[in-house]
């Protein structure tokens, strides 16, 4: 039996095509792709818990700066205005576009804040295994928030807005904009350096260990059955 097929490696089903396969032990930096559809099944980053923790803490500080400082200033014929992320949503709300304002707040503030705070809680809990089972629940919600945190898209949107307005007035980028640029890099960096498998390995099961034993016994049964 080859190394890749040893039952000690957990059996898993591809998320995209449901093919059953075993993931071999990966070297650092290694990746495992589905044998049928090519989906990325697992990757092993160098430092799967500590580095994302550092990046998450950094991102939280940058997040506060991005929300507190003006994104840009505008000056035209002696008049002056500036805006923050929330200021942008607030103006939408005041102009009657309340649902759009809520969508912007969700993508710009709530989703990234939840993502960062939930990741922080999980990564801190991961320092002392076994993790309580609620940390699994938190990670689940955190991962759901990920695609809705849209700093990369927002940055491009602001760039387009700046270029449009620049024809009419003088626009200066503010500190908030640079902070947002940093977040657009930090958020994907957290996702790439983090290995959720390391958390799932350490988490205490929600419904006890007897069920866990049953699940793995089934796996062995399947292996023998073939």
């Amino acid at each position: 039996m080859s190394d890749a097929a040893r039952p000690s490696q957990p059996l898993m089903a591809c998320q995209e095509c449901d093919l059953l396969q075993r993931i071999p032990a990966l070297p650092v930096g290694g990746r495992a792709r589905c044998a049928r559809c090519g989906f990325l099944l697992a990757a092993r980053p160098r430092d799967p818990l500590e580095l994302p923790l550092v990046l998450t803490l950094t991102a939280l500080i940058v997040f506060i700066v991005a929300n507190a400082m003006p994104l840009m200033d505008l000056a035209a014929v002696g008049r002056y205005s500036s805006t923050t992320i929330l200021g942008g949503a607030r103006q939408m709300w005041l102009d009657g576009e309340r649902i759009t304002a809520m969508i912007v707040v969700f993508c710009a503030v709530i989703a990234p804040a939840l993502y960062l705070l939930l990741m922080l809680a999980v990564l801190i809990a991961a320092r002392r295994p076994p993790l309580p089972h609620w940390s699994g629940e938190l990670l689940r919600w955190g991962l759901h928030m990920q695609p809705w945190a849209m700093y990369d898209v927002m940055l491009l949107g602001i760039l387009v807005a700046l270029i449009k307005i620049a024809q009419l007035a003088t626009v200066d980028p503010g500190i908030g904009l640079f902070a947002m640029g940093l977040l657009a890099v930090l958020l994907p960096a957290i996702a790439v350096t983090f290995d959720a498998r390391e958390v799932w390995k350490r988490v205490a099961w929600k419904h006890g260990d007897d069920l866990a034993a049953a699940a793995f016994a089934d796996e062995d049964h399947l292996e023998r059955g073939r």
Binding site: C37, R79, G87, E97, A161, A169, W200, K206
Partner: protein, 213 residues
């Protein structure tokens, strides 16, 4: 092993979509919750086809006012100028920044339409049980998931233009009714991509190989 393709569903196993744990539920139709992370277990996402259809039909309906209604209205002393998404693209193009015009055209007009067509095609192919081009369709689905967020671009353009250009009474920009429909298209198509179960694309491949073997 014979080399035959065995899927989780064939083996009576359910994979947790969150933590990837494989379990063997007693009743595959009511698989319950993942014993490790507590996520709802489903052999295939429940009512994936119906829900995805509902979401993309709703998105397709919103796509029309999103493109016809103005997203921004600029007011100066004398004039009031409503701008649709295509109007914004033309404005960027004529004012000399054609790369940005292209980005907005792709992100705001072509990507949402392409997503609707692509998801519609994937749904039809699953319902017909198309047994060819699995790899191509899987790739198409990944592209839809990857580019989905980028069509939010014009919502942010409108938001920050409106927030910044508030120089009353000299000049101000108000959001138009189109921006809501536009945001709705993006949110609905993102949700549609989340409710669509890509494993359905491969079920026809699994069945075919089973018959061959």
């Amino acid at each position: 092993m014979s080399g035959a393709v065995v899927t989780g569903a064939q083996a009576g196993l359910v994979s947790c979509e969150t933590c990837k744990l494989l379990t063997r539920p007693v009743h595959p139709e009511h698989a319950g919750h993942c014993p490790r992370c507590g996520a709802t277990l489903e052999v295939r996402r429940v009512q994936s086809l119906q829900r995805t259809w509902a979401l993309i039909i709703a998105a397709a309906i919103c796509y029309i006012p999103a493109n016809l209604l103005p997203v921004m209205v600029s007011n100066t002393f004398a004039t009031s100028d409503a701008e649709t998404i295509m109007g914004g693209v033309v404005y960027l193009y004529t004012s000399g920044s054609w790369p940005l015009a292209l980005i907005v055209l792709v992100a705001s007009v072509m990507v949402p339409l392409g997503k609707l067509l692509a998801l519609g095609y994937l749904l039809v192919s699953v319902q017909r049980g198309t047994a060819r081009g699995h790899h191509e369709r899987a790739r198409l689905f990944r592209i839809v998931v990857f580019i989905g967020r980028w069509s939010m671009l014009d919502v942010f353009v409108a938001t920050f233009t409106v927030a910044l250009v508030q120089l009353q009474p000299l000049m101000s920009v108000l959001p138009g009714a189109g921006v809501l429909f536009f945001a709705a298209v993006v949110v609905l198509t993102m949700l549609a991509a989340e409710t669509f179960d890509p494993r359905l694309l491969w079920d026809s491949a699994t069945n075919m190989e089973k018959h061959d073997g």
